[in-house]
Symmetry: C2
Subunit: 99 residues, 2 copies
């Protein structure tokens, strides 16, 4: 499998980020074709107490890179991707990883 990892930087308004993520973004992600598993949550901290470089981490698992690309290229995938720009005021780092 592979996964799309989305690491969000600290937003300007974390309460607004959390509310938008739960009420709007999650339903959009769950509509993405080929999606096999979805996990998202807040970065709680670091083991040594130093500042974490990200605020929120989301991961979307797919069976293959091809399935990921087809899913994210679909209208549902594009809608979820476009939504990110509406709430990720701290930026979003996207990576594709082996899983």
């Amino acid at each position: 499998m592979v996964k799309l990892v989305v690491a969000y930087g600290a937003p300007e308004d974390s309460a607004a980020f959390d509310a938008h993520y739960a009420s709007t973004h999650v339903p959009l992600v769950e509509k993405i074709p080929n999606l096999r598993r979805f996990e998202a949550g807040k970065i709680l901290g670091t083991p040594d107490g130093s500042a974490a470089p990200f605020y929120w981490l989301a991961e979307l698992w797919f069976d293959s890179v091809e399935e990921l690309q087809a899913g994210m290229g679909s209208s549902e995938g594009q809608a979820a991707g476009a939504d990110v720009a509406t709430f990720a005021s701290g930026g979003a780092t996207l990576m594709i990883a082996e899983a």
Copy 2:
């Protein structure tokens, strides 16, 4: 659940990193008490073709922060943690996240 996320920067010698990870580090991680799930793999790229900020991503799931801390604080957890310094020539960013 929660997870310990370990994001490795690009190592000086990726073949040596990969070999050490598979032959030495994975067996150490798998001995960590309370570990519920372990996933690790190479960052394959980014959706837009830009450079990825990390080379390798590992995640260790536990039932709770307390279980994570007990697992990582055990002799087996300490051994796995100490091993990281022997091969993570590109650095390792550790975060604890909701899962």
